[in-house]
Symmetry: C2
Subunit: 409 residues, 2 copies
């Protein structure tokens, strides 16, 4: 396949498999000018696939940064009503939402952490309805990524400037199964494989997982009504969509107060345009009681103190160390990729869909079943080639799930 | 001045003179990706000048065209509520609005005219509150323009591709008084000159204007309470702003039912990304009773039939044929420039500010005073070097205002 053919296949994949656009449906695309050419292709493919209207909401890293640097405090504490309306209108109209991520991992480096924290709180509160819709899969949504020059330079610092973006494109194409055969068919096969893995875990009904690795000794109780899910999600009217492309994970819901021990990260976390790395979290009855980072220590403190739920876990996800993304040995500095190369956890809000019938429950009911509620949901990577994970059945039986970073069954 | 210095001066001018940004104020910028670099400069200058927040709403000609080509009829008849909210929020918050125009004059060429007409009607109805705010200067707003490759190619078809955009930049810099001395000071002087011209016309209180030129013999009665205005506008709290940059006109309000005769255009009109040219309009008691165009005939019919008011005039503006823009002999295919090279009229809505106390009047009151109401306001150029205009005083005395395209006094 030529580069142009791959690009075309990727745009088609985002539209037909990612958000699985329906005839006449409204598609909102959030992206930056760095992804302009690809976004134009997506618009074309979306109309070809029958979209009723496509609106592309274009941002610019430089303008975004100027806002963080120079906006008045008053403005910084106010969230635009029209942005809320834009998302709410999409939800009301059962539209689909595609994020095309091209962000510079260092986009907001140097912005004071209290400013980043304020933004997180203000936007989190304003976009409550939107977050609820996304966390409950009330709309079809998907995140894909395309290289920007700054991001590609971060991933491939040793390549010549002209080679960085093409190298990142090729790496991304591989992760999303583009290059050999029909990409849409490849994805059907891939999701089927992940689902058989989730079915196996669901049949086990583990009470707890026990993680051990250098720097990690962590026990995570699972909510009694937990379900393991894959990247293949469903809207209330049964439209199947893929929220993350790539996706290699099976994931479920930890019991909010059931996490004890400590865990170390294995890949850097890019949070709000800043890198947090070399960190270790210690848990007691679910709560993070200690958090230390070699890089981005202050920002890590802000992250876990956004609200009450941001010092509890909301997601536990299993990804073998020999996943294709991991095998590439590329560090992407982008959670969409790095989380799919590694076992990971998420700080903050749990997915209600990981509980039987969870989509129809209110926050109070979800909490009663052990789900964490927060305005944050931040994945971080913990997996490596030395990680063992045991599953503990309700009767206390211990079974190996992972050995040396790979599935034990 | 180097190119970079001129660019910087232009951004500063747009912010400080165009919208005259106030400390802590919210600035909304509407522009396209073709103007990205300039928009980034504007953002920088706006914060430097004390803006509280700047949001740049970025569009893309190619995506816009895809919408006109492929959106479903249902979607095409619906206007996004969030766009209405975006403008209304700006008005409520007394923000400033800057348009940076970079559009390809042929952007929508080939789109069926009924589609263009539908868009005009649907957006016109949805943005009623916004239009009212702009027509009454309830907020500070300004339009500036920057070259896009397609626009520059249209203006300078005989230059090499690499020379077109720089040539259009230099032409634009000249029209906005950048290049010699301090641009902000140049503008103060320029607006003062226009205002003395308006004051003279206001002291006359003409009842009618009579236009003659090849293809034109038109009499326009002026509303009895008309005021001549210039490009220097004022918000209700007396912030002075320049709605159009460049601006060379003095303008006022025709009496809706007081226009008789015929008029021919002298420069092409770009309307909704299409060109209308070689046209002649015939009026009877204000109403356009005949409209014929050599280019864009069907679109001209759609334009004058958007609503009841779109076949009446809303503005009469005087610009001498020796204006600097006219003298450059460049045809810009962009109303912002071409209208400032030529006497022009506007089809559609009148500016309430052209009536004494008009800002505080409702539509019914405005109509009673002779003002036209419409969702359209489309300027078209009629001036040339052979145009004579007479002013007719209430007592019937005839005075020359223009002779051979130039001021007679």
């Amino acid at each position: 396949m030529t580069f142009e053919e791959k690009l075309q296949a990727y745009a088609e994949l985002a539209v037909k498999v990612g958000v699985n656009i329906q005839p006449g449906q409204y598609l909102l695309v959030n992206t930056s000018v760095d992804a302009l050419d690809f976004a134009r292709l997506v618009v074309k493919e979306a109309y070809k696939a029958g979209a009723g209207r496509v609106h592309v909401n274009l941002s610019d890293d430089e303008m975004d940064r100027a806002y963080f640097e120079h906006a008045s405090d008053e403005e910084f504490n106010r969230f635009p009503e029209w942005v809320v309306k834009m998302r709410d209108e999409l939800i009301e109209r059962k539209g689909a939402l595609l994020w095309i991520d091209a962000a510079d991992p260092d986009k907001l480096t140097g912005i004071p952490t209290d400013r980043l924290a304020t933004h997180q709180k203000v936007s989190g509160a304003a976009l409550k309805n939107y977050r609820n819709a996304v966390m409950k899969d009330l709309i079809a949504w998907s995140i894909v990524a395309v290289p920007s020059p700054k991001w590609a330079a971060k991933v491939f610092p040793n390549l010549g400037v002209e080679e960085q973006v093409p190298a990142l494109w090729e790496a991304i194409f591989k992760t999303v199964h583009i290059g050999e055969g029909n990409a849409v068919e490849n994805w059907c096969e891939h999701v089927k494989n992940l689902e058989s893995r989730a079915a196996l875990l669901n049949s086990k009904k583990y009470a707890k997982l026990h993680y051990t690795a250098p720097g990690t000794d962590l026990t995570i109780a699972l909510a009694p009504q937990h379900k393991w899910l894959t990247g293949g999600s469903k809207t209330p009217d049964d439209t199947v969509f893929i929220a993350n492309m790539p996706t290699e994970e099976v994931y479920t819901l930890p019991l909010k107060q059931g996490v004890n021990g400590y865990v170390s990260n294995s890949k850097p976390l890019v949070y709000q345009g800043n890198i947090i790395d070399g960190f270790k979290l210690t848990f007691e009855e679910g709560k993070i009681i200690k958090a230390e980072a070699q890089v981005g220590h202050d920002l890590l403190q802000e992250l876990i103190h956004v609200d009450e739920g941001s010092c509890y876990l909301g997601e536990v996800a299993l990804v073998p160390h020999e996943s294709p993304i991991s095998a590439s040995e590329i560090l992407y500095f982008n959670t969409l990729f790095d989380e799919n190369a590694s076992n990971h956890l998420a700080i903050g809000e749990a997915y209600p869909t990981c509980l039987e019938g969870g989509r129809d429950l209110e926050n109070g009911q979800l909490e009663a079943l052990g789900a964490n509620i927060s305005v944050t949901h931040e994945d971080f990577m913990i997996g490596n080639g030395e990680m063992d994970i045991d599953g503990i059945l309700p009767d206390g039986t211990v079974e190996p799930i992972f050995r040396k970073g790979s599935w034990a069954f």
